[in-house]
Amino acid sequence: MTARTAFINARLIDPANGLDAKGALLVESERIADVGTALFRDGVPSGIETIDCKGQVLAPGLVDMRALVPEPGETHKESVASAAAAAVAGGVTTIVTLPNTNPVIDDVALVEFMIERGRETGLINLFPYAALTVGTKGEKLTEIGLLREAGAIAFTDGTRAIADPVLLRRALAYSTSWDALIIQHPEEPSLARGGQINDGEYATRLGLQGIPPCAEVMMIERDLHLVATTGARYHAAHVSTAMGIDAIRKAKARGMKITCDTSPHYFGLNETAIGNYRTFAKLSPPLRSEDDRKAVVEGLRDGTIDVIASDHNPQDPDSKRLPFAQAMAGAIGLETLLPITLELYHNKVLSLGAAIAKVTSAPARLLGLPAGTLTRGARADLVVIDPDRPWVIREDALASKSRNTLFDSRPVQGRCQRTVFGGRTVHCAKDA
C-alpha cells in the first residue's frame, strides 16, 4: 500500500481554482488524491499520516520563473543543489533557470544537463530556459525547435537584452511555429552602457553614471511593434519603471497578449538602499526612485504585472567587495520571495490569494508548467504558510551559498513553515 498523508485543519488557498476555504488535502503516491472543505470532516481514517496545519495556509509550492543558478561555471557562488536547498527553505518547489551560465545554456545537451541536475536534487522541479542567441551574444539564433523538444521552457538571453531589432523580429516570427515564449531583459543597451545606478539625484551625488528609466520603456515599446507584426508570445522580465509598466498596461488594454514580471526588489526597495556605495544594492535593472517603486506596486495591484519572480542572482564577496563600478549586479532572492511578496498582502495591496497567485498559479500558467495548483491529480508540491508570523531576515541564516541579500535585518511578516515536494516534507521551520 502506498504512503498516504493527510493535511488537515488548513486554510486551503489555490488561486488556480479560486479556492480559499478551510479544509483538508490528501496526498497519495506523490500526487494530490483529494482536496476539499468536507474532506476528513469526520476525522482521518487510521493508517494515514496526519499533518495538522493548525489553521495555517496550505498553498501550492511557489513557482519562481526567474532564477540564475550559476551551474555550470560558477558553482562556488551557487550550485543547483544549494539553490534547491535555498528554494525549499523559502517555500519554492519549482524554479526556472536563466541560461547565463558558463557555458551558456544554448545547446540541447546543456538543457538536458540542467534538467538532470534538477532531478538529482530531489527537492524541487527545475525547468531551464534556453538562450535565444548562441552564447547570448545577440548574433545568431539558437535551435529553438530542438531546444524546445529537449525541454527548454522558453527563450531568453537572460540578463542581457536582445538589442538587434532585426534579429528579434526573426526570432519572434520563428518562435511562433513552436508557440515558444520569448523573454526580454527590457533595457536599451546603448542608453545603459557604463551605467551603474538609476539616473537622477543619487547618481549625481555619488558621481556614478546613471541608467535613465526611459531605457526600459524604449525597449518595451520597440518590442511591442515587433510583437504586433509577428503575433509571437512575448514577456518583459523584471519591469521596474512607471513608464515601462504604463506601456505594458496600454498594450494589454489594446488586447495584446504580452506579459511581464517584477521582482521583490523593485516593490520592496528603492534607490536609497544604495546608501554609501553599497554594492549589494547594485542590480540590473537598477533600483529606481520611490515614484517608480509605487508604480510597480500599482502595476501588481491592477494586474498589469502578472508575476513576481525572485530574480535570484548569487554573487560572492569577490564579485561584490569592489568599487561600485566594478562590482557585479544582482541579489539573491529565493528565500525572501515569499515574505516580501506577502508585504503586498499586509499593506493591503493584494488579497492573500492574489498575492500567492503571483508566485504560484500565474507563472505556472504563463509558462505552461505542471505546477502551482492544488488540483486533484496534480503533483503534491505544497507549502504551509503562517501568513502573519513576524520574523527578521538574517543573511547568516540563509541556505544559499552566496550571501548577497538586500533584505538582511528586514522585519517581515509571513513565513514558510513547511515545504512539501511530491508529498514528502523537504523543509520544516525549526519551531513550526
Partner: protein, 413 residues
C-alpha cells in the same frame, strides 16, 4: 631602569592581572615594557587604559594614582608637586572640544559641519606662513604617510608629499604602475596588505567613485581621499575655500560660479558641498550634457548661458573637460565649447569687477580658459591655489591623525 609600565604591572599583581583588568590580551601588556623599536611603547602605558586601570585597581583594593603612570620620569615629579585637581575618570582620555575635527578619515566634504570646515581652514591658514618660510615642524614626526595613487597625478601627490614632509612625517609613494594592482590584486587585498605594514595615513586616489570609502572600511589607519572617480576631492575644495577666504575675507554670501565639465568633476561636487555649507551661493554653468539637471537637488542654480551664469559673480571657478571620463561625444568640438563656455575677458565682464578666477588645474589653455585670463595677475589666483594646497593638506594630515587611537598615547609619552 624601572619604567612606569613595569612599576604599574608590579603594583597590580603581574601582567596577567593587568590584562584581565584592562580587558586586553596579555601580550599587549608585555609590549608596554618593550622599546619602541621592538613594537613596544617604551615603558609607557597607553593613556586610553589609564582610567580603566585606576578604576579596576580601586575595586580590587590596590592603590593606584595617576603619578604611577609616570613613575620614574620627570613628569611624575611635576605631577606630584602640582596642585591636585580631581577630574572625573571619563574625561581623562578624551578632552571634549566641539570645534575639533573628530573623524579618523577625510573621505569627502559631504556631511562635514561648517565648524569642522572652519577648523580645518583655520589650521591650514596657520600653516601658510610656515610653508612660506620653508620651516618644518615635528608634529607628525615618526608617522608614516603612504601615497597610494591608482590614477596618475603629479600635483596632488607632490602636494601631499610636501605637506607630510613639512610636518616631519615619513612619506612613501606607491606607484600603481609597478605594483601588484596591475597583477590583478583586488582593492581590498591591497588595503589589507598595506594595512599590515602599519602606516598611519593612506592618501588614496582612485578612478572609481566610492573606492576610497571602500578601502577605508578595511584599514586601521587614517585615510584621506585624494579624489575618487567623479565623487569627491575634499582637499581641493578646502584649498579653494582657503584661497577664497584669504582673498575675500569670507565665504558666506559670495556668489560662486563653477563652470565647465561639472558632470564628471569630483572637484565640483566637493566644492558644492563645501560652499553651500559655508553659506555661499553656488551656480553651475555649462552645456546641458555636462551639467546634470539633478544637480539642482544639491542646492545650486543651473545656467547653460555663461554670460548669465557669471553675472555679478565673486568667484569664477573653471573646470577642465575630463575627456578621460567621457565615453562618446558630450560637446561637438573644443572650438564650439570654448566659444560658448570658455572663459575670456568678454564673458568675464559680466562678473563683478573684482571677481577672482580659479582653476583646479591642470589648465588647458584655449580649451576652457583663455591664456591671457589665466595669466592675469590681478584676477587669476591659480598659483595661489597650489600654494594653499600644501597648507590645507598639512592641516588635514594633522586633523585626521589626531583621531588615531594610538596617537593619544603618543602625545602623552
Amino acid at each position: 631602569m624601572l619604567d612606569p609600565a613595569t612599576h604599574v604591572i608590579g603594583k597590580c599583581g603581574g601582567p596577567d592581572a593587568v590584562a584581565e583588568m584592562v580587558g586586553i590580551h596579555v601580550s599587549n601588556v608585555h609590549r608596554w615594557t618593550y622599546p619602541r623599536a621592538r613594537g613596544g611603547t617604551d615603558g609607557r602605558i597607553p593613556a586610553r587604559h589609564h582610567a580603566r586601570l585606576i578604576a579596576e585597581a580601586a575595586r580590587r583594593g590596590i592603590t593606584l594614582v595617576p603619578e604611577d603612570f609616570f613613575h620614574g620620569t620627570e613628569a611624575a615629579a611635576a605631577l606630584s608637586s602640582a596642585p591636585r585637581k580631581r577630574e572625573p575618570a571619563s574625561q581623562m582620555t578624551q578632552p571634549a572640544d566641539p570645534t575639533r575635527f573628530r573623524h579618523r578619515h577625510l573621505l569627502g566634504i559631504e556631511g562635514l559641519s561648517s565648524d569642522e570646515i572652519a577648523y580645518l581652514l583655520d589650521r591650514a591658514n596657520g600653516f601658510v606662513d610656515m610653508s612660506r618660510s620653508r620651516r618644518k615642524a615635528d608634529l607628525l614626526s615618526g608617522l608614516s604617510v603612504m601615497n597610494l595613487f591608482f590614477e596618475d597625478s603629479t600635483r596632488t601627490r607632490t602636494s601631499f608629499e610636501l605637506a607630510a614632509l613639512r610636518l616631519g612625517a615619513d612619506v612613501i609613494n606607491m606607484s600603481v604602475a609597478t605594483s601588484s594592482i596591475q597583477k590583478g590584486e583586488s582593492l581590498i587585498d591591497t588595503a589589507l596588505t598595506l594595512n599590515a605594514m602599519h602606516p598611519d595615513v593612506l592618501v588614496v586616489r582612485h578612478p572609481h567613485s566610492g573606492a576610497v570609502e571602500l578601502l577605508s572600511q578595511k584599514v586601521t589607519c587614517s585615510v584621506i581621499n585624494a579624489g575618487d572617480g567623479s565623487h569627491e576631492h575634499p582637499t581641493q575644495a578646502l584649498l579653494d575655500a582657503l584661497t577664497i577666504r584669504r582673498r575675500k575675507g569670507r565665504i558666506g554670501g559670495l556668489i560662486v560660479a563653477i563652470c565647465g565639465d561639472v558632470a564628471h568633476s569630483r572637484v565640483a561636487r566637493s566644492n558644492i558641498h563645501l560652499l553651500t555649507t559655508m553659506g555661499a551661493r553656488v551656480r553651475v554653468v555649462g552645456p546641458p550634457t555636462l551639467v546634470p539637471r539633478s544637480m539642482a537637488r544639491m542646492g545650486v542654480e543651473i545656467f547653460h548661458d555663461m554670460r548669465q551664469g557669471l553675472k555679478d559673480c565673486d568667484i569664477v571657478m573653471m573646470l577642465r573637460l575630463q575627456l578621460e571620463r567621457m565615453h562618446g561625444t558630450y560637446v561637438p568640438s573644443l572650438r564650439e565649447n570654448f566659444h560658448f563656455y570658455g572663459l575670456d575677458y568678454d564673458k568675464l565682464a559680466n562678473a563683478k569687477p573684482d571677481a577672482l578666477i580659479m582653476h583646479p588645474g591642470p589648465i588647458n589653455r584655449g580649451v576652457e580658459i583663455d591664456t591671457a585670463v589665466a595669466d592675469d595677475v590681478e584676477r587669476s589666483v591659480i598659483t595661489e591655489q597650489v600654494e594653499m594646497g600644501v597648507a590645507v593638506r598639512m592641516a588635514c594630515l594633522e586633523a585626521v591623525t589626531a583621531n588615531l587611537p594610538w596617537m593619544d598615547a603618543r602625545s602623552r609619552a
